[in-house]
Amino acid sequence: MAVRVVTDSTSDLPPGVAQSLGVTVVPCYITFGTEDLKDGVDLSGDQFYERLVNGSVFPKTSQPSVGDFKRVYEEVGPGSDGIVSVHVSSKVSGTYNSATQAVPEAAVDCPIEVIDTYQASLAVGLIVRETARAAQAGGDFETVARVARDTAARSEFVVLLDTLEYLEKGGRVGKAAALLGGLLRIRPLIILRDGAVDQLAKARSRKGGIERLLDSAREFAPLDEVGVLHTTTPDEAEALSAQVRDLVPGGQEPLLSRAGPTIGTYAGPGALGIALVRSDRA
C-alpha cells in the first residue's frame, strides 16, 4: 500500500490538510514548568499563545523521542512500500536526529528515508504536502523520496518577527543576535539559510516589515507553492495571503496556517511568515 509520509508537528501543516493527505504527524513536546504537553494534541493554539504571552513560566520545547518515531514507523510501516520521514532542519532541532536513530530500532521490513529539509515550520509543511501528493499519485519509494529532497532544495522560509525576545529566550537567535536590546525598536526579518536562522533585513514599522516580507517573497518568484504563517494575527495573514496569491502561476490558494506551539514558542506573538517553493522552470 504505497509509500507513507511522516513528519513532526513543527511542520505546521493544518491538521485537516495532514489528514486528507494521509500524513502522520509526530508531536513535539511543550513543557510549562513541570506540565508536559504534546504539541497540537493537548494544547490548542489560543490557549497556548495566551499562556506564552501572559504566563509566568516560559515554555520549553523538546523533540519527539527515538521511541516516539520507532512506534510511528512500526505503525505505518507494515504493508507499505517505504516510509519518507520529512523533518525540520537539524541545525535548529534534534528531531531529525531522533528520527534517524529510530530507523535501525524500528522493526519494519520496508525502507525508511529520513530527510533533513534544512527548513522549518510551514516550509517543511509545503515540502511534506508535495511529498504526500507524490505518494498519493502512486510514486514508488525512490520517487517520493526524490520529490522530498528536490522540493526541500527549492524551499525558502522568511519570517517577520514582532520581537526577537522569544527567539532569544528559546536560544535560537543565531546570527540575528546583533539586533537585540538596541535603542531603536527593530522588527527583524529572518530567513532559514543553510538550515540555520539568519537575519535578512531590518524593519522598523510593522507595515514596513510586511512590505519587506512581501518583497523578499517576490524576489524568489516564480513559485510553485506558497504558504502564509501567523502566530496571533489571522487578519493580517489573510491580507498577506491575498497579496502573495499572484506569485504562483495559476493562482492557487496559498496554504494558510497558524504556527503550532513549538514554532510559536520561538516566533512569539505577532509573527508573520511566508513559506515557498521556488519554481524549477525559471
Binding site: 546583533a178 535603542l183 531603536l184 527593530i186 533585513a201 531590518k202 524593519a203 514596513g208
Partner: protein, 533 residues
C-alpha cells in the same frame, strides 16, 4: 630619509595588520603606524630651513597630532626623543642618534600606563641598547646595529608575551618599527631598493606558525569583549600627561597619553565611550575625537582572516562609517552596525582630514560614508576623493536619513547594490527638526524672532512657536505624518526626559493610527529630531 621609510612602510601595511593581536586583535597596527608616519612626513615637508633641529621638531609635532592607535602614539615618542636630542643642532651624528633612541625608550615607556614587554616598547629598548653599544661609529653603523637588534627583538617577542605565543605571530608594532628602521637603513645604504616587503622574522618560542594569526587563536577570542578605542586631542588641560593618564585609568585601560600641557594626545580602550569622553571634557577642550568599535573591528578581522584561509578576498568586506551629533544617536548608529562614528564637538562640522581619518579607521575593502548633514557633504566628497575608489558616499542630509540608510545596509550584498538600496531608503524618510531660531528673519513668508522655536521639515521652515512640543506637532501635521507608518522622536540635550515623554504623548494623541517611538538622541541644540517613514 623618513619619507623613504614611510614609502617602504606603505608596502608593508597589510603584512603588519595581519600580525595584530595585542592588545586587541583588530588588524589595524600597520594602518595606524602608517598614518602617523604620513603626518610626520607632511609636517617635515613644510619646514624650509633645513636645520636638523627644525625638521625633527616638525616631525615630532606631526607625530603627536597624527598619532593613531597605541602603536602610533608610542611611535610618536621616538620622534619626540629625536626632537629633544636635536634641539639647537644642525646635523645628526651617530652619538646623537644613539642618545635620541635612548630618550625615545624612556619616553615611550612613560607614555604607557602599564608597559607590557614583548611589544613595540621592547623592540625600541633593544634598538636603543644596540645603538648605544656602537658609540663612536657612523650613523650608518648605528642604523645597521639597530636593524639587527630590532630583527632579533621582534623574533623574540613571543617569548615575552603569551598572547603572541598563542596566536603564533610576532608583535605587529615591533615589526612596524623594524620596517621603519629598515627603510632608513636602505636609504642610507643607497644600494637596496627602498620598496618591497620586509621579511617578518620567524617567531621564536611558538608551536604554530603559518606566518598568520592562527585560527585556533581567533576561536578563543571570539567571545571577548574589547569595547571601544577612543582617541582625541586634549587642549588646555592644565595637567601633565601623567596626571591625565592616571585620571583616564579610572574608566579605561591601555591608556597612552603623550604631549605637552598645551596639547595632549590621548588613546584609551574602554568598554563604554561616554564616561571617558565625559571625563575628558571635564579636563579640557576635546577635539578630533574618534571612537572605534573594536569588537566590530575584531569581528571583521577574524572574518577576514578566516576567509583568507578559505582563499577568499578580505577586500570584499564593506563597512559603514557615519558622522553623528549626540551620544544617543551615536549609539543608535553603532547598534545598527556602523564600524566607526565621528562625533564632532557641539554642532561643528568635521574637516576633510577628520573625514579621511574616519574612513581610514576601518580596514575593509569598501567603506560607505554617511555624512548626515548637508554641510558635511562637500568635505565628504573631498575625503572620498582623497581616499580613492574604496570610499563610497551615500548622501544623507539628516540623521534620520542616515538611520534609514543603515537599516537598508546588507553586508552580504555588493557595495553598488548597498549604495543603491541605502539611497532609496533615505528618500523614503521625512525629517523634522526643532530648535531655537538663532536670529530674527523672514523666511517663506513667515517672520521669525530670535529665540522662538522653529520647526524645519526637510530643512524648510514650516512651523514657529514658543513651545517645542507644539512645534513638533505642527511640524508633523505639515509632514502629513498620519499617512506614515512610524514616527520616531529623538529628544536632544535642550529637553528633559519628562518633557520628551509628554511630547511623545501629544504626538500619540494627534496621530492615533501611527506607531510612535521615543528615543534619546542626546543631540546638541536641537530639542527634537523627528522622522516620519
Amino acid at each position: 630619509m623618513v619619507a623613504s621609510a614611510t614609502r617602504l612602510f606603505e608596502y608593508n601595511i597589510e603584512a603588519i595588520n595581519e600580525l595584530n593581536v595585542f592588545p586587541v586583535p583588530d588588524g589595524d597596527t600597520g594602518t595606524n603606524m602608517f598614518l602617523t608616519l604620513r603626518d610626520v612626513v607632511k609636517e617635515a615637508e613644510g619646514v624650509t630651513s633645513g636645520a636638523a633641529s627644525d625638521v625633527s621638531a616638525a616631525m615630532a609635532r606631526g607625530a603627536l597630532m597624527g598619532a593613531r592607535g597605541n602603536s602610533g602614539v608610542i611611535l610618536s615618542q621616538v620622534f619626540k626623543g629625536l626632537a629633544l636630542e636635536m634641539e639647537g643642532r644642525t646635523d645628526l651624528d651617530a652619538d646623537h642618534l644613539a642618545h635620541a633612541l635612548g630618550r625615545a625608550r624612556t619616553l615611550a615607556y612613560k607614555a604607557v600606563g602599564q608597559p607590557v614587554e614583548g611589544t613595540l616598547l621592547t623592540v625600541i629598548a633593544s634598538a636603543a641598547e644596540a645603538a648605544a653599544s656602537v658609540a663612536g661609529g657612523t650613523v650608518q653603523e648605528v642604523i645597521e646595529a639597530v636593524c639587527d637588534a630590532a630583527r632579533n627583538a621582534v623574533a623574540l617577542t613571543p617569548t615575552r608575551l603569551k598572547v603572541l605565543r598563542d596566536a603564533g605571530v610576532v608583535d605587529a608594532g615591533g615589526q612596524g618599527f623594524l620596517v621603519i628602521m629598515e627603510g632608513v637603513r636602505r636609504y642610507l645604504a643607497d644600494d637596496d631598493p627602498v620598496v618591497g616587503q620586509v621579511t617578518v622574522p620567524e617567531p621564536i618560542g611558538v608551536d604554530v606558525f603559518g606566518g598568520l594569526v592562527s585560527e585556533a587563536f581567533l576561536d578563543t577570542t571570539d567571545q571577548e569583549v574589547y569595547g571601544y578605542c577612543i582617541q582625541f586631542l586634549l587642549a588646555g588641560a592644565q595637567l601633565g600627561p601623567d596626571a591625565v593618564r592616571d585620571r583616564m585609568a579610572e574608566s579605561a585601560d591601555s591608556a597612552v597619553v603623550v604631549g605637552t600641557e598645551d596639547t595632549l594626545k590621548v588613546h584609551v580602550h574602554a568598554v563604554e565611550p561616554d564616561p571617558v569622553m565625559h571625563l575628558a571634557r571635564s579636563l579640557g577642550t576635546v577635539s578630533e575625537a574618534t571612537v572605534t568599535d573594536m569588537d566590530e573591528q575584531h569581528r571583521r578581522f577574524s572574518a577576514g582572516r578566516r576567509r583568507a584561509a578559505e582563499g577568499l578576498d578580505a577586500q570584499q568586506e564593506i563597512s559603514v562609517v557615519a558622522v553623528v551629533w549626540g551620544d544617543g544617536l551615536e549609539q543608535v548608529f553603532r547598534e545598527l552596525g556602523a564600524a566607526a562614528v565621528l562625533r564632532p564637538s557641539g554642532l561643528s562640522n568635521p574637516s576633510v582630514n577628520d573625514l579621511v581619518r574616519l574612513i581610514e579607521t576601518v580596514a575593509s575593502g569598501s567603506v560607505i560614508v554617511l555624512s548626515n548633514h548637508p554641510n558635511v557633504l562637500p568635505a565628504s566628497d573631498q575625503a572620498a576623493g582623497l581616499i580613492g575608489g574604496r570610499a563610497h558616499l551615500v548622501r544623507t542630509k539628516t540623521m534620520p536619513q542616515g538611520i534609514a540608510a543603515m537599516l537598508a545596509f546588507d553586508e552580504n550584498k555588493s557595495v553598488e547594490d548597498n549604495v543603491d538600496a541605502m539611497e532609496r531608503a533615505l528618500a523614503a524618510v521625512k525629517t523634522g527638526e526643532v530648535c531655537y531660531a538663532e536670529r530674527s528673519a523672514r523666511i517663506n513668508g513667515r517672520s521669525v524672532v530670535k529665540g522662538e522655536i522653529i520647526g524645519l521639515l526637510d530643512r524648510d521652515l514650516v512651523a514657529v512657536g514658543d513651545d517645542p512640543s507644539d512645534v513638533v506637532v505642527s511640524l508633523l501635521l505639515a509632514s502629513e505624518a498620519s499617512s506614515g507608518d512610524l514616527i520616531t522622536v529623538y529628544w536632544g540635550e535642550p529637553v528633559s526626559a519628562e518633557a520628551a515623554a509628554s511630547a511623545r504623548d501629544r504626538v500619540l494623541n494627534e496621530f492615533p493610527e501611527t506607531e510612535v517611538e521615543l528615543v534619546r538622541g542626546g543631540q546638541p541644540s536641537y530639542h527634537y529630531i523627528v522622522s516620519v517613514e
